[in-house]
Symmetry: D3
Subunit: 253 residues, 6 copies
Amino acid sequence: MRVDGRQASELRPITIETDYLKHPEGSVLISVGDTKVICTASIEDRVPPFMRGQGKGWVTAEYAMLPRATGQRTIRESSKGKVQGRTMEIQRLIGRALRSVVDLTAIGERTIWIDCDVIQADGGTRTASITGAFVAMTLAVGNLAKEKELSSFPIKDYLAATSVGISSDLGVILDLNYAEDSTAEVDMNMVMTGSGEFVELQGTGEEATFSHQQLLNMLEAAEQGIKNIIIKQKEALGETASLIKTSSQAGSL
Amino acid sequence: MRVDGRQASELRPITIETDYLKHPEGSVLISVGDTKVICTASIEDRVPPFMRGQGKGWVTAEYAMLPRATGQRTIRESSKGKVQGRTMEIQRLIGRALRSVVDLTAIGERTIWIDCDVIQADGGTRTASITGAFVAMTLAVGNLAKEKELSSFPIKDYLAATSVGISSDLGVILDLNYAEDSTAEVDMNMVMTGSGEFVELQGTGEEATFSHQQLLNMLEAAEQGIKNIIIKQKEALGETASLIKTSSQAGSL
Amino acid sequence: MRVDGRQASELRPITIETDYLKHPEGSVLISVGDTKVICTASIEDRVPPFMRGQGKGWVTAEYAMLPRATGQRTIRESSKGKVQGRTMEIQRLIGRALRSVVDLTAIGERTIWIDCDVIQADGGTRTASITGAFVAMTLAVGNLAKEKELSSFPIKDYLAATSVGISSDLGVILDLNYAEDSTAEVDMNMVMTGSGEFVELQGTGEEATFSHQQLLNMLEAAEQGIKNIIIKQKEALGETASLIKTSSQAGSL
Amino acid sequence: MRVDGRQASELRPITIETDYLKHPEGSVLISVGDTKVICTASIEDRVPPFMRGQGKGWVTAEYAMLPRATGQRTIRESSKGKVQGRTMEIQRLIGRALRSVVDLTAIGERTIWIDCDVIQADGGTRTASITGAFVAMTLAVGNLAKEKELSSFPIKDYLAATSVGISSDLGVILDLNYAEDSTAEVDMNMVMTGSGEFVELQGTGEEATFSHQQLLNMLEAAEQGIKNIIIKQKEALGETASLIKTSSQAGSL
Amino acid sequence: MRVDGRQASELRPITIETDYLKHPEGSVLISVGDTKVICTASIEDRVPPFMRGQGKGWVTAEYAMLPRATGQRTIRESSKGKVQGRTMEIQRLIGRALRSVVDLTAIGERTIWIDCDVIQADGGTRTASITGAFVAMTLAVGNLAKEKELSSFPIKDYLAATSVGISSDLGVILDLNYAEDSTAEVDMNMVMTGSGEFVELQGTGEEATFSHQQLLNMLEAAEQGIKNIIIKQKEALGETASLIKTSSQAGSL
Amino acid sequence: MRVDGRQASELRPITIETDYLKHPEGSVLISVGDTKVICTASIEDRVPPFMRGQGKGWVTAEYAMLPRATGQRTIRESSKGKVQGRTMEIQRLIGRALRSVVDLTAIGERTIWIDCDVIQADGGTRTASITGAFVAMTLAVGNLAKEKELSSFPIKDYLAATSVGISSDLGVILDLNYAEDSTAEVDMNMVMTGSGEFVELQGTGEEATFSHQQLLNMLEAAEQGIKNIIIKQKEALGETASLIKTSSQAGSL
């Protein structure tokens, strides 16, 4: 039995509150257990300099934590005057993952800015950010599609993420909270589409290693977990969900 | 009639949700109309170097806005690598105002870190931050008083803030929202105690000026508004409110 | 009796040496007691990006202290790589105050850069900077008016500043020096026009508060003080003073 | 056939020149095809503050490229005043990977600083850095073991890395050069030990995705490639190789 | 004839106003022609970390220009967030030059901070800074010697600087003003002691070169110029001059 | 006898390996004794903003050391977030020196970026950088001249540098290694052309001074040394050497 009473391959409760803020084109407050992230999507009518004139759009992400999202207060990155390596890694991951399901040509020369601000952290903030940001982005693009004529709906498939790890006591465990994350020997973050394809796979053994078989076991648990998360995303999106035309495999979710 | 239907000296609706986050010693989500700020108070068992060995504590504040708290997305200060002048001004104001009602000796050699993070902005973010931060700080100090023996309860009086301005159409107006703030000729922020004393008074005529009589009219409106805000703070604090032993004048609120 | 022998509502001696430097369009060395500030005004034939194409000008200010302007050497902000909150607050105040008496349309698409560099500090550096910068700016605009055809003289009124405070011994005192400023319970900076209107009012009780009546007493002392400072500005401006066409009220000074 | 004539699962030629520089405790110049990296290991007799007093050591890494390691000159990070996200990601990866095969207790309270400076880049700079840094670190630790009494030899196993990807033409390809990396749909970096265990697995589909079966195919190719790279490391280490006492599985390489 | 009517080997008029500011231990306002620099010397009772425990002191210098010291306003280095190469070069030069005439052991574990702030620039700001800083430092050390028992007077000799250059029209010219400096083919800064020894020699041909004979001619002019500058320093120092016990050669100046 | 067995006016062995890297337009690995520097020259088809539209080119240089080029590991400037004064001084010197022998008009509106990265340091890194950078630049310009029609060959003369110093034991010594540099009383860097003209002369007595006669002796030793270095440059340049048309004096080398 896990510290919070879950089964080894059981997700934490997930809630996704849509249109959480009044200004952004799309916004959600996602809770995955005690991890809470405000995800917003902002649409800007131009692209960064390196992409101009190509008739394509761009998706980019930023990530931050409130100082007291954590048990101990952390110093603001603005006070330190620089963004930490961990933050950069996470925001690069979020942007890359989201771009894999967006038809950049269909959004035209626009930038979608994703902001993920963790207001309470209990493990899995990067995967909750991806899951929530997908919904915020889809809402924003849904609004864009109502206002502007787009060649097709730019979101090609669902996208969600979770973590999986290996605990010395319990073996493979899904969706680690902070206490589990701190003691796990191996930690793997996975991002998958509604069609069951991989987008990102980042497995790390901090001062430890893992075998080929352990890898296969982690993949299996994560694949099932992500299917269940995508069901939550569909519910949260409501009518907007119908705009996403995925392949037949996705339809079977 | 004002843009949102209020009378000239009418406050916007205020709600203060206490214990909003699980990690901080004190936290609230304050809403003043559409302005929403997460205020947290963190207690650290040491003081900054310049105060060590004096047997006194310190209160300091930081303020930030989520990028999409505003109508247009604003760039993160961490991305720019520096904190803007406006932010510094506001966080210095919040810290200074809170210190005026804290008995620094009674908290011992501890620092109270206040964090005010605006998640939605519609004018008056600095005054909402002060009002909310006072409640978060009092909750945190209330918790501290339960765990540690303090010589006396360190919060000496209530503290709240609001804005008042002069509109060319309507004259003196209380608690300006963003639309009103953008067009007002004069903008004044006031911070007062439960005893009706001034703590801060910052009046500014951007490309305009104001007369002695106009100043007196603004003071009158703001004094009444702050009395009403303090009533909301008392309700939000619940039992903790009884720990604040103010002078007789405050008792009459 | 005050520490330097002044009456409670007596200003320190003020001298304003005009055309102090050879390069700037306008420059003064202002001394208020032992506080000495070099104020320069530079005119640039363009405006910042956010103002282009509006047919209006801009006034902006920067403020700094020499490392040894103070009793203890302070580290240069360039060495630290960032500008401190206090500096930003002051330079924003100076710029805002000066803009209130400038007809930005009359200066055309030009920027007036004000630089206030404190070479010796003894309290009241920000108010001395405003008082001196007004003279430097007026000299620069006077020179501009000689060389270029302006629709009207852009300086609409006089502008000066002083501080006022409350001492536990002496009550309300005007124009605080450093020793007084360090021990005063309340400190208020006021900026007023030649017409007797308020431009800025910043009253602060650091770890203290002040009553409505104390506020009224401070206003009275400061209003009289600023009238006397403006007389010094007129003398310093010499012939250029005649270019400022203020309202009848100002004429009565 | 690949652009440089290799088979799909063929590595580029690898050379590892040991003791390349005179000052560092361990150093190599590693060439993997046209990618050339100077890897040094420096031993410092103390650990970072967060590790003091635990009787354990630390391994940390830094990574950089000469401005003209690349086809187009890139701006120095020191000139820009900040380290880019990509650099941080890579140096965090290198440090984490090396720590997985080091017995931190056996090195005592010492820090091993790894510096990987790419002097010529043609794809795979991060994996070449890990492969080379392992050799430099082992040489440095070998020297340390000669001078100081260590409880046991701190390097527990071999460690090497390579990349594998999916090309639309050729399917799974091993050890991508720059031209291949730029056009591959999927790119995966793998770090493994001499015992055949995984340490890091980072698979990314930039604007693409990959299936479960494709993942298995990539793992197979990379596992074989890393075995061959470790043979090169053994040759380069010479006598020092005998100090590494790996498990029986590693012995069979 | 030179642009300002001087002979080729004639210095500009020099004035050195001592005790210019009230706070620093030593201060001067030096004018060399239209170049004006405030030089201060501050004595701190400790040395930087790299010198602790050696029983020796340190001398270090900082240099800056007011934004409007120059014909065109220059941006503050604090606003840019970094110190420019030219500034660093100059402040390193000033510190190094002053240290050559100070007995660091005789000042004890103290740091002398030199600040040179150019308030008006017309060429030769670095050499005027050295000449003025020597006087400010000597005054500060003179005051130190009165208050504390020093083993001997720490200033071992006079120190002054000037520039010399080659103009295509006039050949070798001494003490270049800004107009001359901008058009000279070769520019050499020289720092010498009262004993006629060299401390620094920095000759530069920007997009030009100079011959062995031209070098000898420049040395001759500069040597004579520096002798005359030292006479001015002696006058400015007044009684304090008698504390400097130089070698016989210096005595003959 | 010197520490490495050399005569007082004997250079260390010099090797210059050309075309060391595959990407840059020109590159060398220069070794001067144990000092090793990778010098590259990159040609960019535009000039910095301040030079646009003048029909002239620009040459600029950057300099850095690998962290473990030195006996003790030094912190990367990118990690510190700023470039140190010493680095700026050196890169400004390299750029200025190279420009003195380049006909900027003949290279057209192009920038030549010089990068000098010290991979191993044993004294004299700045002079080795200049000597090596000259060869890398000439190779790059030689390649440019083959591809584009230039009005004339832009390199007007040879350029090389060395150091000379005064040791208390040995008197004047040429080409100081690190051990000698650390103990020398005076250190002078000289940059000269193939025609025997001076370009830069930087003599410094750190906590010491030097006489007129000592200066003449240092000049003599350095002039002879530079002649010998230029012979090495000619050999390294091979056929490209014939493109440099120097004056008759240079021809006699």
